[in-house]
């Protein structure tokens, strides 16, 4: 791997939070990358660390109590974690922008929408206020907001949920960033608007050639958008691969469990949804072996004692599971024969 084509390359991130109950080790040796022009999705259940991981790359987590213990976040080869505040500011918003989950709370309630757009543009570009305003209106038009001039003068709480998220997207694309981190961008929305907003986001960014890091707990949602998917569990990636790898050749028992748990239209309606029994481990407790071991149907002795190493299945597809370890050849064969 020479790093060519990689826009964001995050390696061995380790993040802790100091809480009253002690130290919470929420990100453990997590690595992923986003290539130029692709949509990379990070999927995981609540508390798996996906938001913390991506926000830590831009040092957006509160520090303290948060602490980045180690790792690198290489953006175009430069480590964001080593940058000083000024260098980092030049990246935030201009190179890498974030779309947060709930625009209602993520935007300032006492500032007009237009002003919040304009201030972003002015911060990063040498542009007159008048031109910035024209640009802001243009941005609102790009996210398909009718009558942008009217919306510029409104406050965020005056807009509907869908409109709010469009505004959030408009702010994110204001300076034509190279990467957008979309942190559960549709979770706060009605089901009917979800697809609309996601379609808008992805089509817009493909048009602009922007890479996307899409964070979600909804595996089904990413199916039609993501080029590659990373599945997170308890602060680390258990499986990473192309969309095709994850949906059709999933290797990790957790990924398979998630896929089975997705609601399906072809099953009888009275059949219970499949679930993964148990709950994720408490990040504040010391851990031994594989984090998923206690919930795993295929758990072996080795899983309880040693953490599984990263195993390459092919060039893009990697996983952390003892079942996939070359040394576990026999077990895998027998399992596949039985299946």
């Amino acid at each position: 791997m020479d790093g060519l084509g990689r826009l964001l390359d995050v390696r061995n991130m380790d993040v802790c939070f100091r809480t009253h109950e002690g130290e919470s080790h929420v990100i453990r040796d997590a690595s992923f990358c986003v290539n130029h022009g692709e949509v990379m999705a990070i999927v995981g259940e609540s508390g798996s660390g996906k938001s913390v991981l991506t926000q830590a790359c831009l040092k957006l987590i509160p520090m303290p109590p948060g602490e980045i213990r180690g790792g690198k976040a290489l953006y175009n080869g430069r480590d964001l974690l080593q940058m000083n505040e000024n260098e980092l500011r030049a990246v935030r918003g201009k190179e890498v922008a974030v779309v947060f989950q709930d625009a209602m709370t993520a935007l300032n309630p006492t500032m007009r929408i237009g002003a919040q757009l304009v201030e972003t543009i002015i911060e990063h570009e040498k542009i007159s206020k008048r031109d910035a305003k024209a640009r802001a209106a243009e941005l609102l038009r790009m996210v398909k907001i009718p009558n942008p001039e009217k919306y510029m003068r409104q406050y965020i709480f005056q807009c509907s949920g869908g409109m709010r998220q469009r505004v959030m997207i408009a702010i994110a694309i204001a300076c034509r960033p190279k990467l957008i981190i979309a942190d559960e961008p549709t979770t706060a929305l009605d089901v009917t608007i979800k697809t609309e907003i996601l379609n808008l986001l992805v089509s817009l960014l493909r048009e602009l050639g922007t890479s996307v890091l899409l964070i979600t707990h909804d595996l089904g949602m990413v199916a039609s958008y993501a080029d590659r998917i990373g599945v997170m569990y308890a602060g680390r990636f258990v499986e990473t691969g192309t969309s095709h790898d994850i949906f059709y050749r999933a290797k990790h028992p957790y990924t398979r469990g998630l896929l089975r748990a997705a609601p399906r239209l072809d099953l009888p309606p009275d059949q219970d949804l499949a679930t993964i029994p148990g709950a994720p481990p408490n990040p504040a407790l010391p851990r031994r072996g594989c984090a998923f071991a206690v919930r795993c149907a295929n758990c072996m002795e080795v899983c309880k004692a040693y953490e599984p190493p990263l195993t390459d299945i092919d060039k893009e597809h990697t996983t952390r599971c003892w079942l996939l370890d070359p040394r576990a050849e026999n077990i895998r064969n027998s399992e596949e024969a039985g299946a």
């Binding site: 935030r92 918003g93 922008a97 406050y155 709480f157 005056q158």
Partner: protein, 310 residues
């Protein structure tokens, strides 16, 4: 916004009306009527009653009082015969009375609110550091020590021992310094603590994180997003604070020998000077209601959520 303003103004007027009416009838209900002195003869008492219009039925007295009030006539004083209550309270000749109390209250307001906000901001933006801890300590003292203790202490220290500042009167800036300072301490403490808490709370607000994620410089995040929103809770307490500064001057006025309204409070009640009690109630009641009205309207102006969400 206009509708909102009118609604508030209407309810403010109604409040004042109810206040005046209640006070009027309450005073009439005090047993053991006026001029109960046994040295006053029956005829004399009857003449005095007639003079002050007390011989008429109570409802008629009430109507007369309200009619006079509309012409800004508060009636005559009983304890100081021949003096109009309006002139006693306003005292345009000497500038004592209400103008003096207002001067002290407003000066203290103008000093304490900006100071409190500034100190609270310094503390809130330096959370956990030395300045913050110092501020918390000082404001704890400010909140818990009553103003008469401060006032007597500062008279002793700055006036008598050090001899830096005069301890009576309120006309020259040097005379004004100590009273204003003593009256302001409590308010400074309250406002600075509120400002600090509200800044600290906003630190973890989602929109502050967004502002950071947009790459804004810290000064813009702090001034435009954090401080602006942190000021909203301050505005809500300004009404009661203004009221307490303008009515709570009694102790400070007494200690620094300032001829404001403070003296009349106690005097009017012990003298059974009904007209003066009524007058003070009307003045302060109206004042309070107007303060709260102004705060409500200002709050609506600066918080669009109130202005636009009806």
């Amino acid at each position: 916004m206009l509708k909102f303003t009118f609604k508030r103004m209407f309810s403010a007027a109604a409040t004042v009306f109810v206040l005046i009416t209640l006070t009027f009838f309450l005073l009439k209900m005090i047993p053991n009527g006026l001029f109960a002195d046994p040295n006053i003869s029956k005829e004399m008492r009857a003449r005095l009653y007639e003079l002050y219009g007390l011989d008429k039925p109570v409802w008629q007295q009430y109507l007369i009082y309200m009619k006079n009030l509309l012409r800004l006539d508060l009636g005559d004083s009983i304890a100081y015969p021949g003096r109009k209550i309006t002139t006693m309270i306003l005292d345009p000749a000497t500038g004592n009375g209400l103008p003096m109390s207002m001067k002290l209250g407003i000066a203290s307001l103008l000093f304490s609110v900006p100071t409190g906000i500034a100190l609270g901001t310094v503390a809130g933006l330096n959370r956990g550091r030395f300045l913050d801890k110092l501020m918390i300590g000082i404001s704890l003292v400010g909140v818990s020590v009553p103003s008469f203790v401060f006032a007597t202490m500062s008279v002793t220290v700055f006036g008598n021992i050090l001899g830096w500042l005069p301890t009576t009167g309120f006309s020259t800036p040097r005379e004004m310094a100590l009273p204003i300072f003593c009256l302001s301490l409590g308010t400074i403490a309250t406002i600075s603590r509120l400002m600090r808490t509200s800044l600290v709370e906003l630190e973890s607000a989602d929109f502050i994180k967004t502002a950071k994620a947009k790459g804004l410089r810290r000064s813009k995040i702090v001034f435009r997003h954090q401080i602006r929103n942190a000021l909203l809770p301050i505005v809500t307490v300004l009404g009661p604070i203004t009221a307490s500064l303008l009515t709570g001057t009694f102790v400070v006025e007494a200690i620094f020998n300032i001829k404001g309204l403070g003296g009349y409070y106690v005097e009017s009640i012990s003298n059974r000077d009904y007209g003066l009690v009524m007058g003070l109630t009307v003045i302060f009641g109206t004042f309070l209601v107007v303060c709260n009205l102004v705060v409500d309207i200002v709050y609506g102006l600066i918080d669009p959520r109130i202005r636009l969400k009806q």
